[in-house]
Each structure stands twice: as structure tokens, then as C-alpha cells.
């Protein structure tokens, strides 16, 4: 393999190799190279020293009241009017939305598959003709009734004169 330091390529391999994090295949390549390259050997030695030094830097555990303080801060957050209204309804909406979608699907299905009540052109023509005939008949009846009404007073007048 080419020297990572001289070619400035795969320098990350050198870092990972020094940290013991390089995969087995590349680590074997690197190990062979380091055996023959003094520059890389020096680099690895120095890097391992840094790695070990950094490992000694421990930290204190998180303070006991961390969560309590955080939840207090969360509780102190102002709640928007939207949250006030919709937050309690959220569990309901979560269940209601799929239910509403299912109902909608059923309604659409019923509408699409229900027998159509539309009239064919011939049937509608017949219906119009029937309507017209009925209207004419009703008009004639009305005229007949009017005529009878007009005749009735005259007949009554004649009857009284003859008496």
C-alpha cells in the first residue's frame, strides 16, 4: 500500500489503526506498512500516546437533580392556546382519524355501488308526456267545475221565477 503520510491519502486509516478501530482487513495492511515505514511507525506511536492520555480524562457523574430541574423547566414552558385545546383531544384524534377514514371509504363504496336511479332519455320523455296529459286533464276538470259553478246561480234564479 502507498504510505498515507507521503501521499496524504487514507490518513484516516492511520488514525483508526492507532485507535484499534480499523477493520481486520485494513488493519493487516496497515500493520505490514508500519513495519516498513519509520514515519508511519512514529505517527502511530505518537497517536497511541495521545489516545491513552485522552482515555485518562474521566468526568464526574451527572448531578442527581438533573432530571428534576429539566422537568421543572419543561413544566414552566408557556402552553399555547392551541396546545391547551388540542392536546387533551390528541388521543381521541389518533383513534378518530382512522375511524373517520374507514367510514368515508364505506360511504364512498356504497355510493359507487348502489343501483343508479337515473332515467334513460326514453323513460324521461314518457314521464314528461304523462305529466303533460295529467296537467291537461286537470285543467279540463277545473274548467268543467267552473262552468258548473256559473250555471248553478242561473238555474236557481230560473227556479225562483217559475215559482
Amino acid at each position: 500500500m502507498d504510505c498515507p503520510i507521503r501521499t496524504d491519502e487514507n490518513t484516516d486509516w492511520l488514525l483508526e489503526y492507532s485507535a484499534g478501530r480499523l477493520d481486520r482487513e485494513h488493519a493487516a495492511l496497515m500493520a505490514r506498512h508500519v513495519q516498513t515505514c519509520q514515519e508511519c511507525a512514529r505517527f502511530v506511536e505518537g497517536q497511541q500516546r495521545v489516545w491513552n492520555a485522552l482515555s485518562q480524562w474521566g468526568v464526574d457523574p451527572v448531578s442527581a437533580g438533573f432530571d428534576r430541574r429539566l422537568y421543572r423547566a419543561i413544566d414552566a414552558q408557556p402552553v399555547s392556546w392551541k396546545d391547551r385545546i388540542f392536546r387533551p383531544l390528541q388521543p381521541f384524534w389518533r383513534r378518530a382519524i382512522p375511524l373517520a377514514a374507514a367510514c368515508l371509504l364505506i360511504v364512498v363504496g356504497v355510493v359507487l355501488h348502489a343501483p343508479q336511479a337515473t332515467l334513460t332519455p326514453a323513460a324521461s320523455q314518457a314521464a314528461v308526456e304523462k305529466n303533460e296529459a295529467e296537467q291537461v286533464e286537470r285543467t279540463l276538470d277545473d274548467m268543467q267545475m267552473l262552468r258548473e259553478l256559473e250555471m248553478t246561480p242561473k238555474q236557481e234564479e230560473n227556479t225562483s221565477k217559475s215559482l
Binding site: T11, R49, V59, F66, L70, Q77
Partner: protein, 192 residues
């Protein structure tokens, strides 16, 4: 494979938080509380400030739950917030007084000891001095290099994830890390 399982798990928890599940937030907090606090402590090197910033990180996570989209690894998002806050704090607080406080804080800073046996006073002092040197060496790094080293060394993040956290290219991260470790190799050369 493990990483993708972890991704799904954390992102799923966060999506539950989005749906109003407080228990999922507690799980995420329990999982990442320590690592976020430790990362921030090593960034700002002040226990009180690091916890304050960590509080802000988790508060922002909680406040952003409504707009959360599982487009990236949860930890990338989490460390992005943490790094952003730490870099801002370092920028704002970089003044002489803070430098003095950092120098004076040497004696007050407790050092964690995890030995097999009880170390002698001399061993404790040697260790404390070493840790102090490491602390100063890390503190001397430019902010972005420091963040990259801490994520690489202590959080064991991959280059691609560090790149996403720092909003830069993977090659830029490689370059940042190479330069940072170069500085540390020089500064810590005498340490066995």
C-alpha cells in the same frame, strides 16, 4: 446493522414523544443524559455550565417534538444541538476572565479515579497532573477541532456522522481530526 437498529429505536421513541408520550422522552433522556453532559463538559470544561447547556439541549429536543422528522439519526440531531450550544457558549464566553477562571479551576476540579486498588497520594497527584495537561491540550484546540476530537474519541462517532453534526464534508472532518491530533501529539508528546 446495530447502528440502524439504534436509529430506528431512537427515532421511533422521538416520534412517540411527538405524539405526546412523555415516557418515551424519559427513555431518551435516560439513554443520552450522561453522554451529552460529558461531551458538553469536555467542550466547555465547566461542570455547572455543561449541565446547564445539557438542560437546554433536552429542553430544545422536547420543544421541537412537534416539528421532529426522522430524516437523520436521532443522535446526529441531538449532538448537533449540543455542539451548536457549546460552540455558541465558547464564542460568547471567550474572554480573559473565563481564561483566568479555567486556570484557577485546576485545583477545584474533581478527578474521577477508577483504579483497581487505592492509589497513593503521589499516584493521585501524578494522575491529576496528567489529566490537567490533557484538559489544557484539548482546550487549546480550535472549537471545531475540539468538537470533532471529542465526538471521535469519546462518542465513537463515524466521520460521516461527525460531518453531519458539524455541517461540513467528510473530507473536512478528516482534515480537522488530522490537524487536531497533530497538535495533541506535539503537546502531549512527553506523556508516557
Amino acid at each position: 446493522m446495530g447502528a440502524s437498529v439504534a436509529l430506528d429505536c431512537d427515532a421511533e421513541l422521538m416520534l412517540r414523544v411527538k405524539d405526546g408520550d412523555g415516557a418515551s422522552f424519559s427513555l431518551l433522556l435516560g439513554k443520552y443524559r450522561a453522554s451529552v453532559c460529558h461531551f458538553l463538559y469536555r467542550m466547555v470544561q465547566d461542570q455547572a455550565v455543561s449541565e446547564e447547556l445539557a438542560q437546554e439541549v433536552f429542553l430544545r429536543v422536547y420543544k421541537s417534538r412537534e416539528t421532529y422528522e426522522a430524516t437523520a439519526k436521532f443522535t446526529t440531531w441531538l449532538y448537533r444541538i449540543a455542539t451548536h450550544l457549546a460552540l455558541n457558549w465558547l464564542r460568547d464566553e471567550r474572554n480573559e476572565r473565563r481564561q483566568e477562571r479555567l486556570d484557577q479551576g485546576t485545583e477545584d476540579t474533581p478527578v474521577r479515579e477508577v483504579p483497581d486498588r487505592v492509589p497513593s497520594v503521589e499516584q493521585q497527584m501524578v494522575h491529576a497532573l496528567k489529566v490537567e495537561e490533557v484538559r489544557h491540550a484539548v482546550a487549546s484546540l480550535p472549537d471545531k477541532q475540539r468538537a470533532a476530537v471529542l465526538m471521535h474519541k469519546y462518542e465513537e462517532m463515524e466521520y460521516s456522522q461527525i460531518a453531519k453534526v458539524l455541517s461540513c464534508s467528510e473530507s473536512a472532518v478528516k482534515s480537522l481530526l488530522f490537524r487536531a491530533y497533530e497538535t495533541l501529539r506535539v503537546r502531549l508528546a512527553h506523556m508516557a
